[in-house]
Symmetry: D3
Subunit: 219 residues, 6 copies
């Protein structure tokens, strides 16, 4: 994947969250209502943000309600992750589905994260396109919401995301690494993983947790 730190695939959301904590960045994990459509698919990429507003009427004649989101998807580069902020959790805004997944995948995009709903779940799972979302629902956005801005800072499931931030998702959730600290976070996280491996081995052998934690300082 172009432009992304090596060895990211060896990481996981928990170790990234711990590492961000250690730098004083404690608001980088999205809230637990965010779940993957397929929890075997790791998500790694750079954010491209979109910001939605609620609507309660149909677009006027001649207006294309999907204009901004079409532009965002058509502009995706390989390795990018669409991050759609709908002020979720929501019961009525479903900004993502099969056709957008297909178009994004055709451009090499790495996945989608939204605090809104997602539809066409069966087809998206079959494509093995990584999507993390705030819920599932069959609703079109037309007459319910529209994307107003793109590539602006957004809040998604409790985390501020800027286009260009590193987005990482696995079964434990979604973590956002701000670009400024990316290099340091990745380096520290790889170190921590090797410490965890030692702890695990010792615990499997039946060592006391108190002894292992005393020696390695990792839990």
């Amino acid at each position: 994947m172009p432009n992304l730190p090596h060895q990211l695939q060896a990481l996981n959301a928990a170790v990234l969250s711990d590492t961000l904590d250690s730098l004083g960045l404690m608001q980088q994990a999205m809230k637990p209502f965010m779940r993957p459509l397929d929890d075997t698919l790791q998500l790694i990429g750079r954010a491209r943000t979109g910001l939605y507003m609620p609507m309660y009427s149909l677009p006027e004649a001649g207006q294309n309600p999907y204009e901004v989101e079409i532009a965002l998807v058509d502009d995706l580069a390989p390795g990018e992750v669409v991050v759609l902020a709908c002020d979720g959790p929501t019961e009525r805004i479903a900004p993502w589905g099969e056709l957008l997944s297909t178009a994004s995948a055709a451009r090499g995009a790495a996945g989608c994260v939204t605090d809104g709903l997602v539809r066409d779940v069966r087809q998206i799972r079959e494509m093995r396109f990584p999507v993390y979302c705030g819920g599932i629902g069959p609703l079109d956005t037309k007459g319910r919401a529209r994307m107003v801005d793109r590539d602006v800072p957004v809040m998604c499931a409790g985390v501020t995301v800027r286009s260009g931030d590193l987005v990482f998702g696995d079964v434990d959730g979604v973590v956002v690494v701000p670009q400024e600290v990316e290099e340091e976070v990745v380096r520290r996280a790889l170190d921590k993983i090797s410490g965890e491996n030692q702890s695990r081995e010792a615990l499997r052998r039946g060592e006391k947790l108190a002894d292992v934690f005393g020696r390695l300082g990792i839990l």
Copy 2:
């Protein structure tokens, strides 16, 4: 399935919701807290409604707290879907389980939808009986709730359902098609599906979303 429009199995919840939207019926998809017990099982059938009330004491001696629901289940015809309204989401009313599923399946019923909880999930999954519900819990209704009316209009997960309405469920959620518009909705939905197939093909080939949407008008 008797008395149901042909080709329903080729449809999906998203296209039905879009079609209902196009007729101005925008409140026909149940809220996203409703999930299938088995998301590979499509649900298609006609509603038979039941309405529950909360209770906080045991029934009096000699009273059968299950009387109305037993009558409803014993009266099911093939292709019908039991729709049980419990004012969900709820933490304490679980109106459905294995024995009711068994009795319903024996009568050819198509499934169950409830905004309450469901229990005996393992056995219901093994039967491959389609159930869409507001959650899972082991609680009996006795002393917690009872069905008071049947075949009355109910609100289930945000949608008004009348006995006889078409109920459709898949992994994306549950959509209710009022009987008056059923024929038109099914016809339009089949048309839309063929348009979506064209969009998908074009997007897979890497066409710009803007071009495909401009040409086919489908997202």
Copy 3:
């Protein structure tokens, strides 16, 4: 499993809940936000409780924020279930993960129940260690919460749990059997299961629910 009634594995959460109801104990099933990480793994064991408090600052230098939970885990006996009360549901307290699961499994513990979040879900599933939780999230507890007391009565997902109580979990949820009534509950529950088997057979043969319920009194 030492010290546990025979035949528990033949039971299920629903029948235990019904049996507790019949003794007037109607608050013994945890709320439905509690779900298993792996819904094929039955959980049976005796509770060992831990009580968490929220925190909003890092521990002071030299303080071990995990001290009480390490002591609890190191003290586990075979067949015990760690029950961690975090005043859940919560978006920020995740008291359980892979290393604690590994240490607990090494001591023969039967599983973990928490109304908080759990992380390292992939690894815990691979271990086939039964965990029932209030959600999933990658967050460390350090700076967010700490266990203050252990082996005190706690409220977990709406149920009072005391160390020594029988904890039973399956796909339908988690039920807690107070030690004082354990023997009677298990005996009655086994009886009820055999009645349910008769009902199921009759219903499969197509008997009217009204007749079966009239004869066997079981739904």
Copy 4:
């Protein structure tokens, strides 16, 4: 007020709640979403319960949707408190208003408690009829809910209430004293009030809280 312990007016909700706690009855205070329409009006009386169910359709022709509540109100004796359980908090069930207040006051009833909504608030305040409720709203119950049972045990704002229980309300909230313990609770509560008076005096003089609590054991 007939049939009620003397000196109740000298009590308050907090001291009654503490006294019930001291007997191990810790679930007797209604949840804080319950507020008085007029927080200067103390409420003291014996419960007469009504239980509501949600509805989503108009009553059939010839049916009187208010039948059970009319019967309850017409049957009120002096000093009784109508307690209406609507499974609140609710946004749509408003079982109480001016005309029912007028009829109840004409019979000498002491007030009304409901976890539903109340309407005609201005007029009820002008009557100085004590009402404690889960919210305010202008909606009629017709087509939204109906009272199904009366004088059955109900759960109202988290507390089990039986007809005949003592209901006490003031600005701090609503407390329910089960009839069996009423005599003891009232006696103990009066004692506690005199202890609190001593504490208050000492604290006003500027004594250390530690000293006062050490001496009197009251906070």
Copy 5:
């Protein structure tokens, strides 16, 4: 007040809601989280709608984040009610305050209704400008939200509002009368009020509720 039906001040929210119900319009009362800042101030006027979106970043240099709301307020005519939809309830969007109230009052506007928060509550109360809102908070909208559209249909606290609809508020809540049915609703509501007066008199005299309801059919 120009262009508004006579005798509106004799009405109240409850009777308007009942009358709308009788025409099958059962979704016209805003949810109960909406409360007046001053519950002695009746609100009567025609809606002018504004629709907000959430934001999470400051406006770009040179952009006026208040542009659309300034235009709406400067365009108000006497007797109009500003209706601001923020997808409330919300903890962070406070679209209304003292200066907007002052500017609106200077144009003869009748009040403001918002499902967002309001600030400068003391000053607004002193002005006796009727405001009904979803809560109180000191936050500026800059960097948190902005009005994107005006005079479009909005959903405010559960009710669809169109510019020109009649908005009525009193202590019982806010009711919206669609312009198409306004004349009929006002006429019927005035009739109902005179029936209620008869009921009240009879009940005060101590007549049975059953008799009064039987005779007048009003509750």
Copy 6:
């Protein structure tokens, strides 16, 4: 009031919030569920924090469950504000009441802020002691919660508070000014207030909002 910036009483929560916003501190206003017991009482002082944990059992014999809170109150200096964090909103933790208010007032404390509940509301209002809280309820903390730490950083209603921070409350809500920026915030806020006065005058005279905002840049 010792040790507090002059002219604070001329400020208000809204202007302080705006000023903190202008320094990039956008999380300093507590959530709107926090309300004053008496909205005419301004609250100004320096925080002294206390952190509570939930409990579900009575303290052991000989244990004083109020120990830490007694120590905090006995240690209060004039002009200090007790800030009690209970992870609110809560239905069961009421850490404040009349006796603590009396003891605090006797030491010259400026008030209390808690995201928990408060009891003895009538008496506290009579004392005119400023209390801002997350709700009202009659419950004792004994057996429900206890203060575990004091003078540690806490999160109260969404805002991080440290002992020594400036706490300001009025009818619009509670704002916390971190000590490091206090001087600058107060100075800027006083400037802004004078600008608002000019806007108000111009708007009262009927000037267009667009003109006034264009000239003064204040809304």
